[in-house]
């Protein structure tokens, strides 16, 4: 079974803090994704990566950056957290253009 893990289930941060969300997959997948989920909006893609050190912007990249130094790990970085970044963050991975498998999500609250 594919396993995608995220570093925290719940996270509370203050405005202006730098925030790191970590995602690890154990299936040697090339592709990794970060989505945010908001009520009434579904899931929206923030960034994705198709190889180590490679990244592409998704639909809503503003205010975020990513890092992929190792194939199994994909980090989402909020350089200066703001209250409008309070959301559920979901990581996913896939093998080429194939089914995406999701992690359990991190609910981030920015005060």
């Amino acid at each position: 079974d594919v396993k995608v893990t995220q570093s925290s289930r719940y996270l509370v941060k203050r405005t202006g803090e730098k925030v790191f969300l970590e995602c690890v997959q154990d299936m040697d997948h090339e592709n990794m994704f970060w989505y945010r989920q908001d009520p009434g909006l579904g899931l929206r893609l923030i960034y994705f990566s198709y190889d180590v050190k490679m990244k592409e912007k998704g639909d809503i990249p503003e205010g975020y950056s990513v890092s992929r130094e190792k194939k199994e790990r994909f980090s989402l970085i909020l350089e200066s957290a703001s209250t409008n970044q309070t959301s559920m963050y979901l990581c996913a991975s896939s093998l080429w253009s194939d089914t995406q498998y999701f992690g359990p999500g991190t609910r981030l609250t920015v005060l």
Partner: protein, 116 residues
């Protein structure tokens, strides 16, 4: 750009009954995939079923089946013999078929409640 529309924000079904969740999409692509994901209260997004656009046969997975109408751009999910554990948010999603990473475009979801 692709769009996915789920017009039913909430639905309810009694245990053991059948329910159908609707999904329509808009795309100019010819090669693509469609998915239904389930998100129970635990928040884990779980793949329910997947359909390749080039396949005319509707996908089935145990009690879950789809009605894929390519010309109408419709992709509904039928859940037979509903169980309490089916209570969840259900998301329809679209993905372009390509040789590299391709993002999922999600609908806004349908909250399904299964009652006794």
């Amino acid at each position: 750009a692709q769009t996915v529309t789920q017009s039913q924000p909430e639905m309810s079904v009694q245990e053991a009954e059948t329910v159908t969740l609707s999904c329509t999409y808009d795309t100019s692509e010819n090669n693509y995939y469609l998915f239904w994901y389930k998100q129970p209260p635990s928040r884990q997004m779980i793949l329910v079923i997947r359909q390749e656009a080039y396949k005319q046969q509707n996908a089935t997975e145990n009690r879950f089946s789809v009605n894929f109408q390519k010309a109408a751009k419709s992709f509904s999910l039928k859940i037979s013999d509903s169980q309490l554990g089916d209570t969840a948010m259900y998301f329809c999603a679209f993905m372009k078929g390509s040789g590299t990473a391709s993002k999922l475009t999600f609908g806004t979801g349908t909250r399904l409640q299964v009652t006794l």
